[in-house]
Symmetry: C2
Subunit: 403 residues, 2 copies
């Protein structure tokens, strides 16, 4: 049945989704969700004995998960740095010694285009097998116009070979490359005057990101780069207030960014600014976990203030080598004190909103893309609860079973 | 090739193991490990083009992982309690309200024997698919002679249906059952005079365990129960100093127990006692993680004092719903500050020692059981590093490929 279009999913167990009409999570049990032209069409409480329908055999169905913050375009893993951290070095110390993002930059510039595409493809397929049907994918280990374009092209080519739906982000401002270490102004000018126009002209990225953080890009530099990106038609999603509260969330709200990401160090003023805006708070608890930190984003404060919240993996070789969205939901329940239902919402419709695709993706509703996951689970509470093994039974993307 | 005996594994990539002769971890690259009569026989630096050898295709090989502390004999999952914890209830509050272990006891007594066997079998096979080739399996949700025997028989029957090698533990002293809530002495007498003799007579358990903890079993009660078990030929492994330092580790050392398990609250005197004994410290960081605690066992202190350390999952429906040993290794590196090599040792030879099987199991060495895992990884550091997805390629138990 793989890659052949189905007419729907029948014999459902529990199904749970955000409902865009009521703007609430809703759930049902049993019956059939029909599909037409790659979209959900209607729900019937009846089940059908028809081979053109996928038989859920009573399993839990959720919308396909949406991973709205990933860095899959890297050339080599960095397990040596992981070991160094077990011996007491911090992520920042390793970066200062030439490891970290700059380590990945050297390797990315060396790898062949085809090898990079193969690696990205393998990672996208792994995401898919863990229930992710839509992913945002960043460049950011090239840090030259040529190598950033190579990364975005690799994402595009890999995406064409998988069922996963991807959206790309230019992250030329992930670090200051070594060759501009003492001349950051020139590199920022290059991003603005060469990199952004070239990527926009080749239509390689929907979004632009900046690592706005102490020691990386300042608030002023971030605003300058993002303004240029917006002038070239890109939407804005960026790294904000990860380690130090520097006003990143406030800037995101002020500029109307789709999302401000990380936010472990967000201030109360930042929370208020997001609450008064449409900007989504994208939380990446896997990074806090992988860095062995105990500084978690102040999630209940964000939720209580009415901020829209998304969950994502931050999959990357330095600060979170995991692409499992269900595990991020586990972290969200245990450490961010989200309920299992809030976590599921943040991993589907919250994430869709953070990518500006909430009118088409992230819900089991008529007219929405027919992306869904059948789980080896009886109910949605089991998804974050039974962790560390992959509970995906089948993934459907655009009405096509994909595993 | 599944379940047919092989003559060895060839075209190895990196292989890493504890060496019982040098008592150190060692590693090699390439070549072939041969097998005879279900045991490793010899290493050759050559590779063979022979269909009776399993072709590793350059993959990493480690000994089969050993999960030395699991509670797989439960009837129902407890995701509702998991959700309650996200809303602010503690594990202890939920237990006091009739949840926790007592919740599992009610369900265990109700389930049919055959349904329980099916559930345990499914869990053992999941362990196997995540690289565990040997597991210790506890009863402990029955809390009557009949229901504890039912649990141990279910473990035995399920084990016979899987390739995983299991060893069983009687944990009749997991809680005080509701019907003896006001008469704990009578229940302890029942364990000693009825349960232990019956289990020993039917040869259903190699080990005896007690939940020695404030509010559960006191040090004195623990010693009394374990003494009776030893008199009936069982070896001792027990829950010690998990939430409160109550002298559990000291008792384990004094009694010559194989292991003291949990130890988040172990005292310096307890560490010294273990260091002066052969008792293994079995660390279960998944439980700290799943309970959202920040109290980790003082692992570097234990290692620096010369204590033998094992890692295990503590797989159970209340305080750690995960059976992934690789994820436990991830936690060990990030939160216990073990190196990846120390974590691998603790998940293989350390665990074997905690079960008294270190002369036959847990090493890739001549004469050891031919249990091994081939990983989708280049080197052992990647095992804890790339977490949240299952990197097992093939599991071999007693010279038979099992996936």
């Amino acid at each position: 049945m793989r890659n052949s279009t189905i007419k729907g999913i029948t014999n459902l167990g529990q199904w749970v989704t955000w409902n865009p009409v009521t703007n609430m999570m809703e759930m049902g049990k049993g019956g059939t969700w029909s599909m037409e032209d790659g979209l959900f069409s209607e729900y019937s409480p009846k089940s059908f004995n028809d081979q053109e329908f996928l038989d859920a055999e009573g399993r839990l169905m959720t919308p396909g998960l949406i991973d709205s913050h990933t860095h899959p375009a890297f050339a080599t893993t960095r397990e040596l740095e992981f070991e160094m951290r077990s011996l007491g070095k911090t992520y920042q110390e390793i970066a200062a010694a030439g490891g970290g993002i700059r380590n990945s930059v050297r390797k990315l510039r060396e790898i062949s285009d085809t090898d990079l595409v193969d690696l990205v493809e393998e990672r996208l397929n792994l995401m898919l097998s863990h229930g992710t049907t839509t992913a945002e994918c960043k460049s950011g280990y090239g840090l030259s116009t040529e190598a950033e374009i190579k990364s975005l092209r690799a994402i595009q080519s890999a995406s064409e070979r998988t069922a996963l739906q991807t959206f790309s982000t230019l992250l030329g401002a992930h670090e200051i490359p070594d060759e501009y270490r003492n001349d950051r102004e020139t590199y920022i000018d290059l991003i603005i005057n060469e990199m952004i126009p070239a990527v926009a002209q080749q239509k390689l990225a929907e979004y632009c990101d900046v690592f706005c953080e102490e020691g990386v890009y300042t608030i002023k530099e971030t605003e300058k780069i993002l303004s240029a990106a917006r002038a070239h038609g890109m939407q804005l999603k960026f790294h904000a207030d990860e380690f130090v509260s520097s006003g990143g969330a406030e800037l995101a709200a002020k500029m109307g960014a789709l999302s401000a990401d990380h936010l472990m160090a967000i201030s109360d003023a930042g929370i208020a600014a997001l609450a008064a805006s449409d900007t989504v708070a994208t939380l990446l608890p896997g990074t806090t976990f992988f860095l062995g930190s105990d500084t978690w984003a102040p999630t209940r404060k964000l939720l209580d203030a009415g901020v829209n919240v998304a969950l994502a993996t931050d999959f990357n070789p330095g600060s979170n080598m995991s692409l499992s969205m269900p595990f991020v939901m586990t972290l969200a329940v245990i450490y961010l004190h989200m309920t299992p239902l809030e976590a599921l919402q943040a991993a589907t419709s919250g994430a869709a909103k953070s990518m500006g695709i909430e009118k088409s993706t992230g819900s089991i509703s008529p007219g929405y893309t027919a992306d869904a996951v059948l789980w080896q689970a009886d109910n949605y509470r089991q998804l974050p609860y039974f962790y560390g093994s992959n509970r995906v039974h089948q993934v459907v993307v655009g009405a096509k079973p994909s595993l």
